[in-house]
Amino acid sequence: MSFDAAYEALTDHDDDARWAYGTGFADPLAGVPTTVPANIDRGDLAAYCMMLGDDALIMSHRLQQWVTRAPELEDELAIANIGLDLLGQARLLLTRAGEVEGAGRDEDALAYLREPREFRHVPLAERADADFAHLTARLLVFATWRLALFDRLAASRDPMLAAIAAKGVKELTYHREYAAQWVVRLGDGTDLSHERMRAAMAAVGPLIGELLDPHEIERRLAVAGVAVDPATVRGEVEEVLAEVARAATLRPPVIPPPPTGGPAADDVSGAEPAGGRGRDGVHGEALTEILGELQGLARSLPGSVW
């Protein structure tokens, strides 16, 4: 920067670039081809985009429910920002899902007009938080897992999925950091905060198993170089959670071991099918409540806009 230009920058000649509104907004997907590369199963790809999109959509809704309920105004805004980031990811992924599916459904149709059975998110995303410690533990696990997935997904053979993941990595890095600093603060805090953070970390553990347990579709697409097999991020997730727990003077959550015996989705010989319960559309009561809020307006006033 020359001496002249340096001082030029201090004067506000250019009205479009008033600093208070920020400058240099960019469309992260500009120029990314929307065609589906050859040899990729469109049905599988649409379903996979819906899985990742629904994780973000439902998690975002749970975060939005903290607005007006957060312990401090500053944290309320932080949680709302994270919810907005995830909503942005959900919009891109559901748009991609609709595009690839080719049945004329856009992001709104997928978010507002699907039945509970058609949602493919993991149970971690829909769990209600009993208190702020439960929220931070859940967000830490969610962001750690999703960041590990998106890091690898940025190399996907589907260019759109790769671009969405690359954008998401920066957001998720911050989400993980935000959650981690609260887990450490509460865990390594007073006797009361330590106890509540300990209980929250213990409660989130059982939900981690399903995050790392690949669905048949994820497995097929991973082989094709399109998706990430969630089993491959187990090491990173365990490592990050252990590191945060150590700093927080807590025990890391106990993660259920991977199911033995390989693909068992079609095995009806008694044992619980391996993987994909949430991914297969089986959800708890919580989803009914979430969709009641999320879809209520769109269903009672179809096509309404403002």
Partner: protein, 100 residues
């Protein structure tokens, strides 16, 4: 705010300065409450750079800021009010001096 078991119920106040992309200096943008400097930096990011404003943030505890009082106004600032010759524009600038 009251104290309970020695825990302060209100976090200290911090002042936030953001450097814009095109700016050279950090500009005061507001204040916030946080438990410590690290949290203040996180909160500042979430409160004051949501619209793509900044490239750098400073936070400083408000009680570390020393300011001039309203009572000092005359003694501090009035004496410079009639000294126009302190402005560089007061003088004719020679052609051989390009940048002022």
């Amino acid at each position: 705010m009251s104290d309970h078991d020695g825990i302060k119920h209100e976090w200290p106040l911090f002042e936030v300065f953001v450097r814009a992309k095109r700016g050279l200096n950090h500009v005061h943008v507001g204040s916030l409450r946080a438990a410590d400097h690290e949290m203040a930096l996180h909160h500042a990011r979430d409160l004051y750079t949501r619209r793509n404003e900044g490239v750098s943030i400073w936070v400083v505890r408000s009680d570390d800021v020393v300011s001039s009082g309203p009572g000092d106004k005359d003694a501090f600032f009035a004496p410079s009010g009639d000294k126009a010759y302190r402005h560089p524009t007061y003088y004719a600038i020679p052609d051989s001096v390009p940048h002022i």
